[in-house]
Amino acid sequence: MKNVDLLLPLSIIIPALAGIFILLSKKESQGFWKSFTYIGFGFPLFSAIVLYSQFDETIHYNFKMKFLTGLEDFGITLHLGLNGISMPLFLMAGIVGFASGIYALQAKAERIRLYLFLLLIMQSGLMGVFSSIDIFFFYFFHEFALIPTFVMIGIWGGVGSRSTAMEMAIYLTLGALASLVGLLVIYTNSGMINHSFDFIALSHHLSNTPLETVLQQNIYGILLFGFGILVSLFPFHSWAPKSYSAAPTAAAMLHAGVLKKFGLYGIIQLISPLLPEGAAHWATILGWLALGNIVVIGLATISQTDLKQMVSYSSVMHMGYAFLGIASLNSIGTGGAVMLMFGHGLSVALLFLLTTCIYHRTDTFDMADMGGLASKAPVLSAFFITATMAGIGLPGFANFWGEFAVFIGIWGNESIQWMLYPAALGIVISAIYGLRAVAKVFYGQPSVNFQKHMEANTVRDLTTSEKIPALILIFSLLLAGFYPGFVSNLINRDIDGFKPDKIVEGIEQPATSIYLSHMESKNGQ
């Protein structure tokens, strides 16, 4: 055990501890709880960066650590570690968490210490989700992060938040329990002498003695339903737009950006490798549902007049591409989905952040009541346009590589090849709503209401404390956009060999890296 390994458990514990300290501190001692906020959000980011730099490509799971919590007789141990798929997401969780934490500090919410406490608990759970090798704790940490979201929507959400919080809690509990049951069925039927939730042991065992085909298909179906709800797969998405538009900004950033990736991560990292037959069985249906996300929700996004609603819907829509990548059943498509998760997490967090910044300047989310904001807040408008471009998936941003790889993946799978056309249509759809929002908010003549508002209040550009989190997110997006190997090299290493792969058979080098490095050199020219 190296010392650096300790960073992994510490990045889970420290946010939670910092949160408890903040809760117990006095309201007057601002310096105290502010510094603990920086520690609580800064440490995970710091450790994610250190761990990223220390990542050893020759070892399967890096930084492994095992803790016994008393359930080891049931095969449950707190087993932490990172592989090539979880490392980028762990990093992303650190970045988004830090950005949302800094943003929350200046948000001046009522009962700010409780707010920060809940946010830190969420952060702690998120770091745990992506670093758990044990499937039980993977689920456990997800729930850990989910509960604060419910409370935050309830307390700091706007009018109607009580029923929204309730709807979300019930819906997500259904999803979580369905996935729990699915995981338990894998656990009990694995045929291991000592039942275990340890993913490494499970995958080792199941690759030698796979489950029966029918059982695989059934379990995958249950899990797809459960995870589908959690990731807002069409038609189980209805909770998501409501919740995000009701949620306070920092919570929406963390949930839409990071927590929602739990289900996708679970499918890619855990479930598809364990149940390859199930994945193959459900691929076409999953593809159809993903198209539902892209086209149906995409059209719904266009019709939104409320800016925050639009961002919420667009975040649901983009999940369709990630699902499509999974449905392609090949490594480039799946790897693209991971890349997209990384990029989408950053870009959607940025969009939520900037949307709230706009709200603070216009006092409304209704796009009809805005206009001409660019002349007053040029930096804000530049940032927002950047975020929109990233969301659409323009080259230069992380999302581009994700979507691009997903498209190649679909093309490589002949049975769902045709889905490429409606999926590509989705790009046009997101361009329509994205650019239209930019036009309505920032350009043209200010609306009558906004004119009045501007007369009554001074509309300022972004403040420093708003700029910093936004810049962190933009920087990360651009970094992965111009040097995708920063993320994709890690993904490549682990994405292969897990799936019934049709495209890369006989190719020595992992397919993702070929395509991505090829495109990268093209882009560089």
Binding site: L68, T69, G70, L71, E72, D73, F74, F136, Y139, F140, E143, F144, I147, F150, V151, G154, I155, V159, S161, R162, A165, M166, A169, I170, T173, L174, L177, A178, L180, V181, L184, V185, Y187, T188
Partner: protein, 504 residues
């Protein structure tokens, strides 16, 4: 009290095996006497004596840890009493329960200005008899201890004598409890008669004994009278654990009963029924798997669905707790169904332990908040978390644990239950349980929502909302106790190491 004297007396006999029960029962009688002699602040003194003595008994168990946990099973009093590790853990369970009930009783009695001595006395006697009941291995002893506890409950439920609801609840419990005792008795008599019939193969002269009865049942599985007897016995206990279709008394009795007693009913009485049932189902009735599994499965499904759906519509939190208890009994029934195939004693025990911690957190808050005991509406909890953060915290932890939310102990208990059920392929029951849990989120979170979330109101002259003041004058003892119970719910959710080696 001279414990040494008792020890010497018991040395010739096996009485020392039930020393804790004897102490509790004697204490129950002697507090009545103390009532005559104490001067001054009598209520407080008696509370201190009875709660202190219970802590001593609990300490006795902790002190004799190795004895408690010994793997041997021993029989005493001509096989009437069976002592093993599980039985000992059950005894500890009831002591913890009675400590908490007595502590809640302090709050309740003070608030309602009721005489306190009989309350503690009855709680102690009921606890002692429940403790013997879970160790009995003879139907007669089982029935007698059950009746002793039930009679104590009749009185305790109608203890709030200045409240008509409490009297009504007492009467309802009396009538239905009497009926269920009659059903149980009928079952016992049938079993006795059939198993003692010399014309049957393997008949026994001591046919109420679990071992003999089990032997007889294994030889005569097809006898319809026998099956009728077994079903009647189980039905009698189903009343105690309040499962469908024997749950009809629950809402009214819970609402009317004094809050501490509602907790006592919901936890101790329910747990005792489960402990006895698991002993019966893995003991004498184990050979009737084919008949009992469908029967118990239907009960489980009915209870989960009925309890949860009925609780959704409740606005009175005591009724809500009662009906959600029906649902919890339904989840536990899954453990009973699974017990025919795998060992589930400790899973049921752990579930009930987490249920105890969570329930007493919630009931503790209810005792502290309420002014009118029976009329506790959800609205009374509005903004509790803001005006009294401590009580809000306890309430949220308790409800979260009942709902089975990680990282609280209730989640681990449900998880272990689900793992067991899936292991023996009870997929249908698990599916129903999942649906039940999802429904339960509505009312548990609805309550949390009421306590934490701000309500938007249009403030005008007619509709002025007066924010409630939850100034509670909890003593330090109660604060520590409630805090401890709530913290345990969190700790057991994160670390279960303490249970390793003896609970599983």
């Amino acid at each position: 009290m001279n414990i040494q004297f008792l020890k010497e007396l018991a040395a010739t006999n096996q009485w020392h095996w039930i020393l804790p029960e004897i102490i509790l029962a004697l204490l129950g009688v002697s507090v009545l006497l103390m009532d005559l002699f104490f001067r001054g602040d009598k209520d407080k003194k008696i509370a201190i004596v009875s709660i202190g003595a219970q802590f001593l008994v609990l300490f006795y168990f902790i002190n004799n840890f190795s004895f408690m946990n010994s793997p041997d099973t021993v029989y005493a009093f001509s096989d009437m009493l069976k002592q093993n590790a599980f039985g000992n853990w059950c005894r500890v369970f009831f002591i913890i329960c009675s400590i908490l009930v007595s502590s809640l009783g302090v709050l309740y009695l003070k608030k309602n200005k009721l005489p306190s001595t009989e309350f503690y006395s009855l709680v102690l006697i009921a606890t002692a008899s429940l403790m013997i009941m879970v160790q009995s291995s003879h139907l007669l002893l089982l029935f007698i201890t059950l009746e002793t506890a039930t009679v104590a409950f009749y009185v305790l439920i109608s203890y709030g004598r200045n409240s008509s609801l409490s009297l009504e609840a007492g009467l309802k419990y009396l009538i239905l409890g009497g009926t269920s005792s009659a059903i149980l008795m009928l079952g016992i008599v049938l079993l006795y008669g059939v198993a003692g019939n010399p014309s049957m193969t393997g008949y026994s002269t001591d046919s109420m004994n679990f071992k003999e009865l089990g032997h007889f049942i294994s030889l005569n599985q097809g006898s319809s009278l026998l099956i009728a007897g077994v079903l009647l016995v189980i039905a009698g206990f189903c009343f105690k654990i309040a499962v469908v279709p024997f749950q009809i008394w629950v809402p009214d009795v819970y609402q009317g009963a004094p809050t501490p007693i509602a907790a006592f009913l919901g936890v101790a009485s329910k747990a005792s029924g489960f402990f006895v049932l698991i002993n019966l189902l893995t003991g004498p009735f184990v050979h009737l798997k084919e008949i009992l599994v469908p029967f118990l499965s239907v009960i489980a499904i009915g209870s989960i669905l009925f309890g949860n759906i009925a609780a959704v519509t409740q606005r009175n939190v005591k009724r809500l707790m009662g009906l959600s208890g029906v649902a919890h009994a339904g989840y536990l029934m899954i453990g009973l169904v699974a017990s025919f195939s795998v060992e589930t004693h400790y899973i049921i025990y752990f579930y009930l332990l987490t249920y105890l911690l969570a329930s007493f957190s919630v009931f503790g808050v209810m005792c502290s908040v309420s002014e009118l005991d029976a009329r506790q509406e959800l609205e009374d909890y509005e903004d509790l978390a803001k005006s009294n953060t401590f009580l809000g915290f306890i309430l949220i932890v308790g409800l979260g644990s009942l709902a089975g939310i990680p990282p609280l102990a209730g989640f681990i208990a449900k998880l272990l239950l689900f793992i067991t059920a899936i292991k023996v392929k009870l997929y249908l029951l698990v599916a129903v349980a999942v649906i039940g849990v999802v429904i339960s989120i509505y009312y548990y979170f609805g309550w949390i929502r009421e306590a934490t979330f701000r309500i938007f109101r249009i403030e005008d002259e007619n509709n002025k909302h007066v924010s409630k003041d939850y100034e509670s004058d909890l003593s330090a003892y109660h604060k520590i106790l409630f805090g401890f119970v709530a913290i345990l719910s969190i700790v057991f959710g994160l670390f279960q190491t303490v249970f390793r080696g003896f609970i599983w």
